[in-house]
């Protein structure tokens, strides 16, 4: 049975825990000795999260397919059902509607969905109005998407729809609010 979400999760984990040089550090060097002895350190006072809580979130299966309006939905991605990505079309403009949290765990799923948008699109809209959290992993996915569609150039072919101040803030403090063109509504992003 095909279980794409599980593959995505495993793929994400494998990439994160590899011993290759972490991208956040300058220069190449070996990662920490994860199997070696740990020096004495403070033990946590108590665990807030039991193993049973971690087990309780279940992996969900994909429900691919299109509805009568030609919209596809990936269903739910990730163990917490934290992210949904809907590929839609407004005229000849692809609109990628993202719902939920984009973080380390769910960003690979977003990346995979964005990769399904046909390469020739002159204008792509990514609707983040229903995104409740966006971290640097999500920004990396957006930057990769921008490079793919816009050749990392200054034109406005990747348009974001942002309504939540916290998401706008993340774009601003990283300097990306000037790079992506940001609109308050999908309609304006498609037409502008």
């Amino acid at each position: 049975m095909h279980r794409p979400q599980r593959d995505m999760q495993l793929g994400a984990k494998a990439g994160l825990l590899s011993s290759s040089p972490p991208p956040d550090q300058a220069g190449s060097r070996a990662g920490p000795d994860c199997e070696g002895p740990r020096s004495a350190r403070r033990r946590p006072r108590g665990r807030l999260f039991s193993r049973s809580a971690a087990r309780a979130s279940s992996a969900t299966s994909a429900r691919p397919g299109t509805d009568r309006l030609g919209r596809e939905s990936i269903g739910k991605v990730g163990m917490d059902e934290a992210l949904q990505v809907h590929l839609e079309q407004s005229g000849d403009v692809p609109v990628v509607r993202v719902v939920g949290e984009v973080d380390l765990a769910t960003a690979p799923g977003l990346r995979d969905r964005l990769a399904e948008v046909p390469a020739g699109a002159r204008k792509v809209v990514v609707d983040l109005s229903a995104v409740t959290f966006l971290d640097s992993s999500g920004l990396s996915v957006l930057v990769a998407t921008w490079k793919r569609f816009c050749g990392a150039g200054p034109d406005s072919c990747l348009r974001l729809v942002v309504t939540r101040p916290a998401i706008q803030r993340v774009l601003e403090v990283t300097g990306l609010a000037h790079v992506f063109v940001v609109f308050p509504t999908v309609e304006q992003a498609v037409q502008g």
């Binding site: 991208p23 956040d24 350190r41 380390l104 765990a105 803030r169 403090v173």
Partner: protein, 318 residues
């Protein structure tokens, strides 16, 4: 005020600690420094408290238009934001153009954790601009307000010292190299006994974020500050999980008007300037600590024998 006689190109980065006694001594000295810079065609940026820049603008008159100003209480509240400001100032110079800066990060009003980070910042300036030529950065220190050990530390972190009657001279107390790096790693005091502890791993990152959000709301951070704190702590937790054997030890506690979150992980950070360089817009990684520094009131980073400790502070508004 005496000046450097040699041309800038041979001087490299002139990082001067300027010892003064009170504003009435500081303002004329800075005025002279600025006017001289403008007269020789240097670009000038002055970063002081608003009250001091206002005084300076008044005495400079029309010449104030030739000078850039920034409010240290705004741009330097988190001292980690100061180096990027100087970097963006230096980066737009044309070849051969000289630069002068005035930056007073250390004042008596800084609480201890901020003061410690100001002192780290002063040492990191020497690393950040080691290859820069023609940049004269004046760092005023008020001898009437600052403790002796703070002035002493300033003597260790600046290659030049000067005062009202004494132009910049090479400083024999300057500690370069290894001893300066050990000072950017001075140990942080342990979290208090009342601190709450959580272990984060890949599965629990979202749950940890939820706890931090709840604590931030309960502490009384404003709505925007809550989101900023959650986003910043999340980035540091992710770094720890992704680069530090898949886990991070998270501690949260309140200290006076600040909510503090510490993340301890086994990854190591080799670059002392991490989080102080604006990431390139087309970069596909390496934004987490930059974001934390923009979003939080203070971020303290220390390398420890078995990894890295990052401590994030957010102040509750009165």
């Amino acid at each position: 005020m005496t000046t450097l006689r040699e041309p800038f190109a041979t001087r490299g980065f002139c990082h001067e600690a300027f010892f003064y006694s009170g504003s009435s001594e500081l303002v004329p000295a800075v005025e002279g420094f600025v006017r001289e810079g403008v007269s020789v065609g240097d670009k000038v940026l002055v970063v002081l408290s608003r009250a001091k820049t206002d005084l300076l603008r008044t005495v400079l008159g029309d010449e104030a238009d030739r000078v850039a100003f920034a409010d240290m209480d705004v741009v330097g509240a988190n001292p980690a934001r100061i180096i990027p400001l100087w970097r963006s100032f230096i980066d737009v110079l044309t070849p051969g153009e000289g630069a002068r800066g005035v930056g007073e990060p250390v004042t008596a009003s800084r609480p201890p954790a901020e003061l410690a980070e100001c002192q780290v910042h002063e040492v990191l300036l020497n690393i950040a601009f080691a290859q820069t030529t023609g940049f004269w950065l004046l760092c005023p220190y008020d001898t009437t307000e600052l403790a002796d050990e703070v002035l002493e530390e300033a003597r260790h972190s600046h290659a030049y010292v000067g005062s009202r009657n004494h132009g910049p001279s090479a400083n024999r107390h300057y500690l370069a190299g290894v001893s300066s790096r050990s000072r950017i790693n001075q140990r942080l005091a342990d979290p208090p006994v009342r601190a709450e502890h959580i272990t984060a791993d890949l599965k629990s990152i979202g749950a940890v974020r939820k706890v931090i959000r709840e604590r931030a709301i309960a502490f009384g951070l404003g709505a925007f500050a809550v989101e900023d704190f959650v986003a910043a702590t999340h980035e540091v937790v992710v770094n720890s999980v992704a680069h530090g054997c898949g886990r991070g030890e998270v501690s949260i506690w309140a200290e006076d008007d600040r909510l503090i979150c510490e993340v301890r992980g086994e990854g190591r950070l080799d670059d002392p300037l991490v989080g102080r360089r604006q990431p390139a817009v087309d970069s596909e990684h390496g934004r987490g600590l930059w974001m934390a520094n923009q979003l939080c009131d203070l971020v303290q980073i220390r390398s420890v024998p078995d990894g890295t400790v990052v401590r994030l502070h957010m102040r509750r508004q009165p």
